[in-house]
Symmetry: C2
Subunit: 474 residues, 2 copies
């Protein structure tokens, strides 16, 4: 395997389609959608990149700010008629280049489709447009004592549609599940403009193949999600006991986290920071944490039984060498949580940060950490790594100078991905494949499954117009 | 729409495939698989039917009792080479004719692939072969304080593979989710014998399309599930407060259940029996229940906070007109639960029972009950109906004399399905489509989605050899 240097250009539309000129496509879009079609330089420039920092080589043809399902259908019909690729984009907070638009492409933004259509406590569901931000939705739900559990770190700035399109994870997945488990039904526009409804407004439903589940995490390559029926939970109430534990080294911390899971205990949050992260947070905040240990574990429990669970967890951590601080007071708890919150700002002070996203079986967390240290050494690159230890999802963060990812960093990342797969893990736990990881797709899926996945993509999108070059290499 | 009378014959294999003679197919199977190939009349007769009572018109060619993945691959290769349809079958407890074999078909039984390969408390997962019974697995897990939540009524006699192939439901879904939420990864043999691994051994994983979720509930039409990595939970411990409530009529009972959900309370079990069910159970057990009310709601809470939740539920039921009995003593609780357990035996005493399986949004439960009463009246057929009220899944049971389903029963069922769909529900909550409901598939999915689902089926199984005629009509 060779690591990617520059990425190859995105493929054009299928050969048999009419190749309309760019002005002709723009003319048709504007005729149908008026000033929802944006071609100003700022809009085009913004749509070329996302939070990964990766950008396409050139600006897209246009950004269409859809407001209704009919707008999305109109864009899809025009693009199919003219053989124009469609890149669906939500809030643009992706970390894998999955929603970035390049030359000759139309970026279909759902950011202005941001209404709540229904909240039903009787059915414990909400129906929303895809562009609403996760945090905005949850603020509205909280007023009714309800909660949509997906909890990516980006929740205040990322959209529900984007959360669904990437099957977003977050801090609470071991206890509350991934996004897929919080979606009941979707309305989807296919490449040719056809509108279908997949899933059910009911808790159960097994009529036909589960295309709702298949859409979740499909990163815009199968269809455009235009309406979302979300499965809610009652808001979790009561105190949230908070535990911080310092360990001698990251292997000891990882082993302690594994022991918590093996003891059948269910924390809501179980986060692990390694020594380099602690050092960076210390430098950033001026509070010397390294002094107190070489690895930090933050645990919170919630809901009924939270206090008893927290006490049981404390015992496991101490039996595994942890020095535990236990906070019931919200202000004191906030201080412990703040250490975790400072990770991202502390990282960005160190240099350019490429945030990776492997996941491994939970009992292999220590093994993965050991290999990351070895890789950092051999490739001469800093890789501070935090982990959602409750679910085995690590974020090795490659830190380097300059804006371009140096080749040795891709080489190091390649070795890291291969080892995660070897451990029975995955090269992306929650960020998605996008363009940045498509080179490795076959390494994890195998040749036969990759071919099958391409056939499924073609069953949805025979002309290859939906987000070409994302997930699947050209 | 016309209701089905006799079903049309199953389709033959695709035209371009070689049409080997039956003796030639048998010769090849026996050469490769020896005495795993069963052609004795008892084996063939058993494979023609399932718990629905529906049977194929003729015996299958053979039943192959696979023991290893390689056996499954060998059967698939031979069947593809000879253009022979493959019907995968687990424990044969289906209720929709989804795993029954007819003329010219090979029934591929996974019943003898019944080993537990791994239980990992550290990773909270188990790896099993598909033929193990749900109850057998859970007995082994309980010894380690673990639990696999899918809880169909058939759990002691149904297989894990069958539970997965139908996305089985049960009594606990509102609180603990459907089967899809308890499966991490699968090994799948495709029609041509290719083995693929879908899903992840990790809690999170978003590499490529989610084919693991797509396989769940696919009823044998996409591939053969040969190994299952299951997501476990810690066993639920502590007392299980049990509530029985009698209501004046089923509408009042349904409204009370809806009020429990709207009050953000989470029972583990919330079952509803209507007047006809109560009458049948009274007749069957000799205990006069009708005397005490016209509808019965059984509720159990579990886990941390079970007692407080139960008390809050009691208050909601009483505020909604329920006369509540509350049991903390296990023997007394068992007596209340027994009423629910007697439903199936009581039904079978009344005549032949066709157990239907619609689901509706939870706040439409009363509306569905009202329509069922109206349909029973107009079509002159008894339809006692119990419901998993926590998730809106109803089992209207058509009771009639003789063994053949009379045309008026299918007409009544047709009207019932259409109304469930009209309410935003589904024609099957947990039993699957099989052969018995394939006529209605397009009514729920719509023409465009049905065509898409057929294209996906073809992407997996281009020759149409896997369970032809099931789910999708020929």
């Amino acid at each position: 395997m060779t690591a990617p240097g520059t990425l190859p250009p995105r493929p054009g539309p299928a050969d048999h389609l009419p190749a309309a000129t760019d002005p002709e496509v723009l003319r048709r879009l504007t005729e149908a959608l008026g000033d929802k079609v944006r071609t100003d330089p700022a809009s085009l420039a913004a749509a070329r990149t996302d939070e990964s920092g990766h950008a396409t080589d050139a600006a897209p043809l246009a950004v269409v700010e859809a407001q209704e399902i009919e707008d999305v259908q109109a864009v899809c019909r025009i693009c199919t008629a003219t053989g124009t690729p469609i890149v669906t984009r939500g809030a643009g907070t992706g970390l894998a280049g999955g929603a970035i638009g390049g030359a000759g492409e139309v970026v279909l933004s759902t950011a202005r489709m941001d209404r709540i259509l229904e909240i039903s406590p009787q059915n414990r569901l909400a129906v929303v447009q895809p562009g609403i931000l996760n945090g905005t939705l949850n603020a509205a739900l909280a007023e009714q004592g309800l909660w949509w559990p997906p909890d990516p770190a980006s929740k205040d700035i990322s959209s529900v549609g984007g959360n669904i399109a990437t099957n977003a994870g977050g801090l609470l997945c071991a206890k509350y599940g991934v996004t897929r488990e919080s979606v009941l039904a979707l309305k989807v526009v296919l490449a040719d403009g056809t509108l279908i409804s997949v899933g059910h407004r009911t808790v159960k439903g097994v009529t036909g193949l589960d295309l709702c589940a298949l859409m979740i995490g499909s990163e815009g390559v199968l269809g455009v999600i235009v309406e979302c029926t979300l499965k809610l939970r009652p808001a979790v109430t009561g105190p949230v006991p908070t535990i911080a534990a310092f360990f001698e080294d990251v292997e000891a911390a990882a082993a302690a986290c594994s022991a918590v899971t093996a003891a059948h205990l269910e924390p809501a949050v179980m986060e692990l920071l390694d020594e380099q992260i602690l050092a960076a947070v210390s430098a950033h905040t001026g509070v010397d944490l390294i002094d107190r240990g070489r690895s930090y574990v933050l645990i919170q429990t919630d809901g009924p039984g939270a206090e008893a669970t927290a006490q049981a967890i404390r015992a496991v951590l101490e039996a595994n060498g942890g020095r535990v601080e236990f906070a019931r007071d919200p202000a004191e708890a906030a201080r412990l949580v703040q250490v975790r919150r400072e990770v991202h700002p502390a990282m960005t002070r160190l240099g350019t940060a490429l945030i990776e996203d492997v996941a491994v079986p939970r009992d292999r967390l220590a093994a993965m950490y050991a290999r990351i240290a070895d890789i950092a050494d051999r490739y001469d690159v800093a890789i501070p790594t935090n982990a959602h230890a409750g679910d085995g999802n690590l974020h090795p963060t490659f830190v380097f100078a300059g804006t371009e990812v140096p080749p040795r960093v891709w080489d190091a990342a390649d070795e890291l991905f291969q080892y995660a797969i070897e451990l029975g893990g995955t090269l992306t736990g929650e960020h998605g494949v996008g363009v940045l990881k498509r080179r490795w797709l076959g390494d994890e899926l195998g040749t036969d499954q990759l071919a099958l996945q391409r056939r499924i993509k073609a069953a949805f999108d025979p002309d290859g117009l939906l987000n070409p070059g994302k997930v699947f290499a050209p």
